[in-house]
Assembly symmetry: C2
Homo-oligomer: 155 residues x 2
DNA sequence: TGCGTTTATATCGTGTACGATACAAATATA
DNA sequence: TATATTTGTATCGTACACGATATAAACGCA
């Protein structure tokens, strides 16, 4: 019976969508302390690893469009977390650099991954399970971003 | 080195967040045909399974706040997909019923889960892997929604 | 060298999400 | 039964996401 497939319980996408939102919510108390949001936290992780990247480089690493990242960076600039400067050699490019405050936040962030993991481990989720999940999802990212690429190519 | 934990590649949450967005994007062509969005598709699945539910019942099943679902339903009412009516016995309650058009959309939706699965299976993802993932995520939903509950209780 | 094309970023419009808050109806209880 | 409390829904403000579009700078090439 095809009908079965349309039940919420039988879909994979709904749990992913829900867990994504619930995880963001679980992060919230820690991020509130830092005065940032979850997407802003992602931007910081990219810059902590490698400061001075362009808007394009940041949006590619986060798999987000530049028209999502642009205003996001502007809000972070307003909050004194980073600076945006046009390249002198290529006026189209905007280079993003962390401020003192942006680097300071890294110290506060160090405990976050640990805390989140603790919640799961405390509820008998195995660490190996978490790692398997990560690998599986990274595989899906490859597939799904390839798939999106194909669509825009054939247009 | 604690630093390692803060790398984008070492986080579980980022892949979940990304896959969630990429899956929604993969759904998009089919949902565009139906004139709805992904969250609206979720509402429809809830109502196809059980028509005539209240705003609260719908938002609980989708794990969304009512202040997210309320405007969502209004947009769907505007698009003639459903009707909202106050209960006569309890004036606070709004009961949501599908229209003819809302039921019609179910026929178009039947192929969607299959198509999505095909993309994954075509790329050598095992069906068992998909089912494992689903179970794992449903477990996480339990944990994370409990955790959120605890926070609001202790406040 | 002039001009069409590409590239990098940003703006606009629409639709979520969600915390905080509002508000009326229903319920509980003194 | 009058009033405090709870319940169900909605409004408001802020921050994403993303498709469509704009725009200026850089590039390619006749």
């Amino acid at each position: 019976m095809d009908d079965e497939q349309l039940r919420l319980n039988n879909q994979v996408c709904f749990p992913i969508y829900s867990v994504s939102r619930l995880l963001t919510k679980a992060y919230k108390p820690y991020l509130d302390d830092m005065g940032i949001t979850y997407p802003q936290y992602l931007v910081l992780m990219v810059l902590w690893e490698n400061d001075g990247q362009t808007v394009n480089q940041i949006s590619e690493k986060l798999l987000l469009n530049t028209n999502t990242v642009s205003p996001l960076l502007k809000r972070m600039e307003k909050a004194n977390i980073l600076e945006r400067n046009r390249s002198s050699t290529d006026e189209r490019i905007v280079i993003v650099n962390l401020t003192e405050k942006g680097w300071e936040l890294k110290k506060k962030a160090l405990v976050i991954p640990e805390k989140l993991l603790d919640i799961l481990l405390a509820r008998n989720v195995q660490l190996s399970e978490v790692l398997d999940l990560k690998d599986m999802l990274n595989e899906w990212i490859q597939i799904l971003s390839d798939d999106n690429l194909n669509k825009s190519n054939t247009k």
